[in-house]
């Protein structure tokens, strides 16, 4: 099997997340339309990206911290189980979340919304199979200090979020300026199903 660069995978997953209307581009477009302001739409992308990055970073920090003290096989099994559990939970109850942020939200609320959406959807969990080998080259990462791991972890979050932001911005701009929202009626395919499948497959890969 030819190795795909982990950086490319991180960026690809970022693009996948960015394309999902539930991760923010649609909210940005809606806010632009509501406030009749192109500026609001583009500005909205900032808290959306920050919230997403925070959610991803939380998972990376948790994985790396566990990786410093835990055997690689145990870590893989644990992460895989978490992913399968999340996929099952999301399939059953994904529709049942409290709605905390509405159309009058400010930028802080939008950031919180993005964080909650990314976390609730398990966006960060999906990256674990890439994060483990990339950030924790030795197993357990004995001798490695947080200082050694921090730069690569930070870079992983940055690459993922950068790709996510680029796609979010591209789709939002395209829809706001040219496409309009009518295409949502048939074009909004069920990314959640693909998302659940991705979580489950990722989980299985880690366990097997």
């Amino acid at each position: 099997m030819t190795e795909i660069s982990p950086w490319l995978v991180l960026a690809g997953l970022g693009a996948f997340h960015g394309a999902n209307p539930a991760m923010g581009w649609l909210f940005a477009v809606a806010l632009g339309l509501h406030r009749q302001s192109r500026r609001v739409m583009w500005l909205s992308l900032v808290p959306i990206a920050v919230g997403h990055a925070a959610s991803i970073a939380a998972v990376v920090v948790a994985v790396v911290t566990l990786g410093l003290v835990m055997d690689r096989r145990v870590l893989d099994a644990l992460a895989g189980t978490a992913l399968l559990g999340w996929a099952a939970y999301y399939a059953l109850y994904g529709h049942r979340h409290r709605v905390r942020v509405g159309m009058r939200t400010g930028m802080v609320g939008l950031g919180l919304w993005s964080f909650l959406m990314a976390t609730g959807h398990g966006a960060g969990l999906m990256l674990i199979p890439v994060i483990i080998p990339l950030c924790l080259p030795t197993s357990p990462a004995q001798g490695a200090s947080a200082m050694d791991i921090a730069p690569v972890s930070l870079a992983a979050v940055a690459v993922h979020t950068g790709a996510m932001l680029a796609v979010t911005a591209a789709v939002a701009g395209l829809v706001h300026e040219w496409l309009g929202l009518a295409f949502l009626r048939r074009g909004w395919i069920n990314l959640d199903l693909i998302w659940i499948a991705a979580l489950a497959v990722t989980g299985l890969l880690l366990i097997l």
Partner: protein, 464 residues
């Protein structure tokens, strides 16, 4: 139950929904005022090209008697496309049908055969009382957090009434909606401004004050509801109360603008104690608060006491009794049902504080008993009541019964049910479709109408 694409009847904006294909079927709640046989949801053919046009072509009976079916709704609608709470891969498929008297909730599947719907779940009043603390279920709306059901009484049938949530997939009762109720106690209708994160609720009274009919002492004493309540839709907190004042009683149907960027809506007040008039009010955003303004007064019509029911003889007038209103999808025309005088009025409300009367028809009425071109039975009783508008705004349907216990107070010789349809001219003006009159089968009276694919009081939108 998840689908691959959104339901084709979901539209991002009211502008797009107004382009929807014409409805071919209507679902109509029908109840037995004598509570001797089960209520039903009737299926009416509204396709002018069909051989069964203007006929009841199907029906599903309830499993019990005495439900008094009321304002039912869909399990899912266009608000599923909202960006903050997206769950678009659902079907508009199930009717959620409340019993106002029984507090029972019925889930009815309209597929695979929309003319032959089937009950798939019944939620008993005990479960609703236990999980949500409410009874006397009144109105259903699909929205951001699932299915919202409002109730006029608490578990004991007293105050406060309020709202509870139902899971849109499993139809489990999730619990009470309000996290902070503030001063709100009475309930009637509710809806929201998705663009303003605001819920609005109105007031009737507690079940003991209406289940045997309107109580004259309570009405004339001004003890029924007269307030609007505004809530934070997402924090579920009471924000503001607006009191219409001592003169006004029964603040009923709420019709917020469909365009989510417009922060105004319309509400009907059934009666003024001063002169029996009905009124329409606009609520609107004023700085960081909500405010109301009365925009329409509909006066009572003088009448010979001999023609009036006992309740009204002393007043020598017929009150208009505006008990339902409905707003077209483009927020342009407001339809006003005058159940007492028998008029259906159409106002141009493009300017929401400066309405213009653009059309009216008369049918039934306490005194007028106006006929319909297709009605074989001459003078009609009952009057325009629950009104529904097609998404394209070209057709308006309505029925003639208000509430089992109140019908005989104003129509003592009984109400023979009927359903009619109006055609709407391009720039206002309404007239009866002479081909559409349903002489409702005896034993049932028709109430709320829902149109296939959605209508002007079923869906809310997040995009302008």
């Amino acid at each position: 139950m998840a689908t691959w694409q959104p339901d084709p009847s979901f539209y991002p904006s009211p502008r797009m929904a107004a382009q929807a294909p014409a409805e071919r079927l209507a679902y109509v709640a029908a109840f037995d005022p004598d509570r001797k046989k089960p209520d039903a949801i009737a299926v009416v053919d509204v396709d002018p090209g069909s051989a069964d046009y203007s006929r009841i072509v199907g029906q599903v009976g309830m499993p019990n008697i005495g439900d008094e079916l009321h304002h039912f709704g869909w399990n899912a609608c266009s608000s599923c496309l909202c960006p903050n709470a997206p769950h678009p891969h659902m079907e508009r498929r199930y009717l959620v049908v409340p019993g106002l008297r029984s507090s029972r909730l019925h889930i009815i599947d309209t597929r695979p055969d929309p003319r032959n719907p089937k009950i798939i779940k019944v939620i008993e009043p005990e479960e609703i009382a236990r999980k949500a603390g409410y009874s006397r279920l009144h109105t259903i709306h699909c929205g951001p957090e699932g299915i919202y059901v409002n109730a006029l009484g608490n578990a004991e049938g007293k105050r406060p009434g309020g709202i509870f949530l139902l899971d849109p997939e499993s139809f489990d009762v999730l619990g009470q909606w309000e996290l902070h109720r503030g001063p709100q106690e009475l309930a009637y209708d509710f809806w929201w401004h998705l663009g303003q994160d605001t819920m609005v609720t109105s007031e009737w009274g507690t079940p003991d004050t209406f289940e045997s009919g309107l109580v004259p002492e309570i009405l004339l004493g001004g003890k029924y509801g007269r307030r609007l309540h505004f809530w934070d839709l997402h924090k579920r907190r009471h924000l503001q109360e607006i009191d219409f004042g001592e003169e006004y009683q029964l603040v009923f149907e709420l019709r917020p603008a469909h365009d989510p960027t417009k922060a105004y809506g319309f509400v009907g007040c059934v009666i003024s104690l001063k002169d029996l008039s009905s009124s329409i009010w606009t609520w609107y955003r004023d700085g960081d608060k909500w405010a109301v303004k009365k925009i329409i007064d509909i006066p009572a019509e003088p009448a010979d006491p001999a023609d009036l029911p006992p309740l009204l003889k002393g007043f020598k007038a017929v009150p208009p009794l505006v008990t339902d209103i409905d707003l077209s999808m483009d927020d342009r025309f407001l339809y006003v049902s005058c159940w007492g005088t028998g008029e259906m009025l159409q106002y141009d409300v493009s300017d929401p504080v400066s309405p213009k009367l653009t059309g009216k028809v008369r049918i039934g009425g306490i005194v007028s008993r106006a006929p319909h071109p297709k009605a074989a039975n001459g003078a009609l009783n009952g009057g325009p009541q629950m009104v529904e508008i097609s998404r394209d705004g070209k057709r308006v349907y309505f029925t003639n019964s208000l509430y089992g216990a109140i019908d005989p107070q104003f129509y003592p010789d009984g109400i023979d049910g009927w359903m009619v349809k109006l055609d709407v001219a391009e720039n206002g003006g309404i007239q009866f479709d002479e081909r559409f009159f349903i002489d409702w089968p005896k034993g049932h009276r028709p109430h709320q109408v829902r149109l296939e694919g959605g209508d002007c009081s079923s869906d809310s939108y997040c995009y302008p």
